[in-house]
Symmetry: C2
Subunit: 367 residues, 2 copies
């Protein structure tokens, strides 16, 4: 793995760390992407002479030296409380850097000022989202991690559906799903598992409450596995009881149609906003336009919610090997609603089109 | 509750928002402390004329208007993606504020710049940790929440100890503890539950792995309940099997003596560093000084790890009604170790001295 990370650092360096310019990466997912691991509070410096991962002093135990490639030096800071960002500034200046590009969207004003004070001759510039951009297109190994994560999420959800749901609280179901994710090999949930019953169903990002599942409810579940840092997403809606009501069937069919349209719009070269529109216009035409989430899907990878955003205002086009979610939903206040969410990898038509990672059925199951 | 939050805002306003100075609070725990709730991405403005809680546009569902007191206006931003910090700057300028104090330790450089661009005539200053300082001393209601949280953590741990532990993984035990916390009424875990078996035991903040509990292990558990936002902490160490080894008994007794010394040093007026030293010097004298965590305890409240820090370099003195943890530990690389951690509230001698919230026994149990 360490060659992969070295190659990623080379690529970033070629774009951003030319001559006497150094780069300081502090956003944890970006550090992990470039260094293979991100101990808490660690900062990665691509300096004029060498790459250094600066880690806060560990009270006990060794930092994960095994994860560090040969061309990446690990520096554990001497004193507890030392800020790795400030230390990296000093190191960059000592190594002869003239400018240092930092992640202004991650560094706080206070840390940025401390960095400036520690290395006053260093000109600080903004790296912007250069690393996030580089992370957009995933390699085979990254996609394999997402694929395994999706399998785990499918398994966890499948097992839950075999158990009795009526009478159990949203909180309990969410915790059980998270336990099952770990049982099947996940490092943990990819994000806080959402279970939304009855009037809560269909609400985006609903956090589980003590509401118990009742006969006749819509039940929305959204979960994902974190597998080696990669975070997939799977959302499904079920009906509790033997026969769904007519409004439930109609609403489900509508959201399903919107979600399918979004999935079918995924292709290399497709504009982000066109994918969003494909799903959104179906819900809009049915009169739900005002209540929709600002996006119908988003990228996944080392973060659950990363670029690209599939939204009406998004600029840019999809590439092959970009994993995204397609997860529109409708929530009717007081009644509930439907949300259907998959993780897919954009692939060219010649390769069979978008690769569906989350394969749990999207038929409306009555449980 | 809303009068409590209004009184907190008045107090902050009296200190920091004099005349044409406005205050912008963005750190979520601080927003919650002052407004009673902190929807994701919300910002609190104490303006020249009124207090406003600015919340990002919700795709569906209503913001929690019920939590907002009469003297706090709720403003939901019009467009998805609007930054509440930037919007608050515009609002403050429109209301005639000349300066705006922001939390530079929380705002990123990028958001700070966007705020400056949106309200160019507003002079931005640093609020520093004024709200964190105000949060140090807890009122009765806050302490009641911590007390209930501690009871929940005690219950969850007590139940786990009645089950069979050998052969189960750290991850499983951690998940089971978190499920039990929620069963007993917690809103969730206060922080990621730490379960450390065998060679992992004693390491500060160890994250659970697939290591299974074995006969003869030390087993360290550190958990806490989040109850209405308040986060207690409870850490205990056990021996797996019928009879602990001599080195285990000796190490346990040592850490226990250190932890007791720390607890006994808690008193109004005691210097933070003296509490730390009381615990630390016992471990230091036994030859473990180099391997200790940088602090032996810390404040708890709306954040798990808040001021004060009980460390050798900390400046300041304890007050009554400040809840802190006392949790020293020793980790012997390759062998494991011991950690014992309580949450207590500092009380004067006349009131019976420090109030212990986490009452699980600290005898060395062999399970």
């Amino acid at each position: 793995m360490s060659e992969v990370h070295a190659a990623r650092r080379s690529q970033l360096r070629d774009r951003c760390a030319v001559g006497r310019a150094a780069v300081l990466v502090s956003h944890p997912a970006n550090v992990r992407y470039l260094a293979g691991g991100a101990p808490r509070g660690a900062t990665l410096l691509l300096g004029p002479a060498e790459d250094v991962l600066l880690c806060p002093a560990a009270p006990s135990g060794d930092p994960a030296e095994g994860r560090i490639g040969e061309d990446l030096r690990l520096l554990v800071l001497p004193a507890p409380g030392d800020d790795s960002v400030v230390a990296a500034g000093g190191l960059a200046a000592a190594a002869g850097a003239e400018t240092l590009a930092v992640e202004e969207h991650h560094l706080t004003v206070a840390r940025h000022r401390a960095l400036g004070a520690a290395a006053p001759r260093l000109r600080l510039s903004d790296l912007g989202c250069a690393v996030e951009q580089q992370r957009l297109i995933k390699d085979d190994e990254e996609i394999a991690c997402l694929r395994i994560g999706a399998e785990i999420a499918d398994q966890a959800l499948g097992e839950l559906l075999e158990s009795i749901l009526v009478g159990r609280t949203e909180r309990h179901l969410a915790l059980e799903l998270e336990r099952r994710l770990v049982d099947h090999g996940a490092d943990g949930p990819a994000f806080p598992t959402s279970v939304a019953a009855g009037p809560h169903s269909g609400a985006h990002g609903h956090l589980p409450t003590d509401r118990r599942v009742e006969e006749g409810d819509f039940l929305c579940v959204c979960l994902g596995a974190n597998y080696r840092g990669y975070r997939c997403e799977l959302g499904r809606t079920f009906v509790i009881g033997s026969t769904p009501a007519t409004w439930q069937i109609e609403l489900y069919d509508l959201v399903f149609a919107a979600q399918r349209a979004g999935r079918e719009a995924l292709a290399p070269g497709a504009a982000y906003r066109d994918v969003d529109r494909a799903a959104r216009q179906i819900l809009d035409a049915a009169g739900y336009g005002d209540q929709l989430a600002p996006f119908t899907g988003h990228g996944v990878g080392l973060e659950n919610d990363e670029d690209p955003q599939l939204s009406p205002g998004a600029m840019g086009k999809l590439d092959a090997c970009v994993p995204v979610t397609v997860g529109p939903g409708v929530h009717l206040p007081g009644r509930g609603g439907v949300r259907i969410d998959d993780t897919l990898v954009v692939r060219p038509e010649a390769d069979g089109g978008p690769e569906l990672l989350t394969i749990t059925t999207k038929e409306l199951l009555a449980l």
